[in-house]
């Protein structure tokens, strides 16, 4: 028998083949005919020199964008670019950008969560946008309030461009409200409590919907701002859950559960959307994505509507813009900003709304016929115009939200008194704020 090395060699060969052949699917193909690498700005008529603009998008947004004609229209308007669109799950996008900031491929622009801006800016990874803003002449009042300001980091620079707006409104069942003898939805928190009480029978109908985790956190945030309180102080260095205004909001939150306006018994807490459809919940605080979901449900046609959230001491509610972010290390910044300015055009903003259900961030978009005729879109605009707040520029924003919704869970299930639960939460939040 010969000494046979062949099996070993074959194996090594196979391994080598596998390792070198496996390429990540997200490596963008090298731009064809790339001559002038970074700043080809001239759209040479007849020239085939195109640069690639790499756009990373999360979750559903990516899918909708891919299925739409918007990238194609962008390439029409800006023939010097080829759009490369990549889809990521939300957490994956965050982690990938984070890993890439320490040395790796960065996209030219990506759609992110608003609290990422503070986190990435702290690492020095973002490109300032005020130059872009000035150059294109974007005026503050052409946008929803706070849209640009929200992304001003503690060093005074604005590091992201508003893409869409997050706001919350009160969805309600018009038919059930009528049955109970109400002609209009509540406009103040007191009315909400009164009507909620009337509408709840403790068995199969409750005035207000129960929410979980993130959505509960947003629900509570609204109550806090409506009571003129806040979760953290002005410069984001200390937790303010224990302040009187916020404690009041917490007590109000608790009272909704105690009076069974929101189911007190945990086994009765049905999932929010399904509950609204079943008429189990008469009113629900929620966001723009419900517009799309509700439109799919023909059985509910004409039986629901939306209105601005009831006000308390203030008219404020939870809301914030979501950003387009350009990394400082992007290779095609010109292309990135051109993409952003394309997406900020009012018709495109309107288009995007129709595709995704997300709220435009430029006021001009709302004048588009298709949007102004949608009466259910109006409350979102009104909410934004009345003023919205949210956590911003704090480190560990996600962890802080988790602490808050865990606190809410303790309060509504009567595990801890509001003051005690808030104090405990503030302990944790203060250490999280230290970074």
């Amino acid at each position: 028998m010969k000494r046979s090395f062949t099996p070993l060699l074959a194996l090594l060969f196979l391994l080598a083949l596998t390792l070198t052949a496996c390429q990540p699917a997200t490596t963008p193909p090298p731009p064809a005919e790339l001559e002038s690498a970074e700043d080809s700005t001239e759209a040479d008529a007849g020239s085939t020199e195109r640069t690639v603009v790499t756009v990373w998008m999360p979750g559903d947004e990516a899918r909708w964008m891919m299925e739409s004609d918007l990238p194609a229209r962008f390439e029409e308007q800006y023939p010097q670019y080829d759009v490369e669109l990549v889809q990521f799950p939300w957490d994956g996008l965050h982690d990938k950008v984070l890993a890439s900031l320490t040395g790796g491929e960065l996209p030219d622009v990506f759609l992110g969560a608003d609290h990422w801006v503070g986190e990435f800016a702290a690492l020095g990874g973002l490109e300032p946008v005020e130059g872009f803003q000035a150059e294109k002449g974007y005026e503050e009042d052409a946008f929803l309030p706070n849209a640009w300001e929200h992304f001003r980091y503690t060093d005074g620079t604005i590091y992201a461009v508003p893409a869409v707006f997050e706001a919350r409104v009160l969805f309600y069942r018009t038919d059930l409200l009528e049955e109970a003898g109400f002609s209009a939805p509540p406009s103040t928190l007191e009315e909400l409590a009164e009507m909620g009480q009337e509408l709840s029978n403790g068995v199969d109908q409750f005035g207000v919907a129960h929410q979980e985790s993130w959505l509960d956190f947003h629900f509570f945030s609204w109550l806090v701002y409506a009571h003129n309180g806040d979760l953290v102080n002005e410069d984001g260095t200390a937790c303010t859950l224990t302040e009187p205004a916020t404690i009041e909001a917490l007590k109000y939150y608790k009272s909704l559960y105690e009076s069974n306006i929101i189911p007190l018994d945990p086994t009765k807490r049905v999932e929010t959307f399904q509950g609204f459809i079943d008429g189990y919940y008469v009113m629900a605080e929620s966001g723009p994505w419900w517009l799309g979901l509700l439109q799919d449900r023909s059985e509910l046609e004409g039986k629901w509507a939306a209105t601005v959230l009831p006000s308390g001491k203030t008219e404020l509610s939870y809301g914030h813009p979501n950003p387009w972010i350009v990394p400082a290390g992007a290779t095609n910044k010109e292309g990135a900003f051109d993409w952003i300015s394309f997406m900020l055009q009012p018709e495109i903003q309107a288009e995007w709304h129709l595709i995704s259900g997300q709220i435009p961030v430029t006021t001009a978009a709302f004048e588009d016929e298709r949007l102004s005729s949608n009466e259910n879109l109006q409350p979102f605009l009104d909410s934004a115009l009345r003023g919205t707040r949210s956590l911003r520029n704090v480190p560990n924003a996600e962890a802080i939200s988790e602490v808050v919704w865990n606190m809410l869970s303790d309060v509504r299930d009567n595990v801890a008194a509001p003051e005690q639960a808030a104090a405990d939460a503030c302990n944790q939040i203060n250490s999280l704020l230290e970074g």
Partner: protein
């Protein structure tokens, strides 16, 4: 000329050169066969473990070390209420699952060891949950535990028991995890116990019956002691796996309600990949590692001492 490598031939005494050659080839063979495996283990098991130890003593920024802080992370972790909650949850879950798996696996084995007809079908069916990918298993039970439409609460109502808000209740969330895990593992335990039971000498049992030993006595004094190695194996494997509880809190509850379902690995993941406090996360990982070692050793020792008796 092909040279034999390890057998002494009396006909052809090997020359010195041949012997040296043989040794060299042998050494090369040992290196070539052990080398790759050792390399992988070194690079991907030993080095990262040591690195974790090292990282736990440093303040970190993203994934790089910034400054040496000694035991600061350990003190911070050990004084963190949430860590203790996670520890409690993890131990509660591990203990419940190990005990449940052993008890139910043993019960099934005792009941069904002797059946011949259909035993393959039965064994295959009971074992099936064990091969289901864990992620699918977690999602499936997420649905089964739905408070209103889930199968578990529906079944409870047949018996006149009120529905339980499993994953939304502080009291019931860990028992829910335990229930899921016992379901998954008891087939595995049953198979091992059946093999163990089959290995028990029938004569021994016969003699006991003749001596007048009842069923319970036979079980307690003969069967269980003889099954110790099997029990130990099932217990240790399950203990090591369950102390690493992660998927259930991650997928189903995100640690809620209100930290009542956080586990240590869940916190490690959070600290390491969401809050990115690598030093602290490593400290937690080291603590868990020590915990697993200690508990496993304790478990093994407790079996050994009772064996001596």
């Amino acid at each position: 000329m092909r040279l034999p490598l390890s057998v002494d031939l009396s006909t052809t005494p090997p020359t010195k050169a041949a012997k040296v050659n043989r040794h060299r080839r042998e050494r090369w063979f040992i290196v070539a066969t052990l080398g790759p495996a050792l390399l992988f283990l070194l690079v991907y098991v030993f080095y990262p473990t040591l690195d974790s130890f090292v990282l736990s003593f440093f303040q970190t920024r993203l994934y790089s070390k910034v400054e040496f802080v000694g035991l600061q992370h350990y003190l911070s972790v050990l004084s963190d209420r949430i860590f203790w909650q996670a520890l409690f949850n993890t131990l509660y879950y591990a203990g419940g699952t190990v005990i449940g798996t052993v008890v139910f696996g043993l019960a099934l084995a005792l009941m069904f060891e002797r059946t011949q007809l259909g035993s393959t079908l039965f064994r295959a069916g009971v074992f099936m949950p064990y091969v289901i990918p864990y992620a699918a298993h977690t999602l499936l039970w997420y649905w089964l535990f739905d408070p209103r439409y889930g199968l578990i609460n529906i079944a409870l109502e047949w018996f006149g028991i009120n529905p339980v808000p499993w994953l939304q209740s502080r009291a019931w969330v860990i028992p829910a995890f335990i229930l899921m895990s016992v379901w998954k593992r008891m087939g595995f335990a049953m198979v091992i116990f059946i093999a163990g039971l089959r290995a028990i000498d029938d004569d021994l049992l016969e003699a006991a019956i003749v001596d007048g030993a009842g069923w319970w006595q036979r079980l307690w004094h003969i069967i269980l002691p003889l099954l110790k190695p099997m029990t130990l194996f099932v217990a240790v494997i399950n203990l090591i796996q369950t102390l690493q509880l992660f998927m259930e809190p991650f997928v189903m509850t995100k640690g809620g309600p209100s930290y009542s379902s956080v586990s240590i690995v869940y916190l490690i993941y959070q600290q390491g990949f969401r809050s990115i406090n690598v030093g602290r996360s490593s400290a937690m990982a080291v603590i868990l590692f020590i915990l697993i070692m200690v508990l496993t050793l304790l478990l093994m020792r407790s079996f050994r001492t009772s064996e001596v008796q």
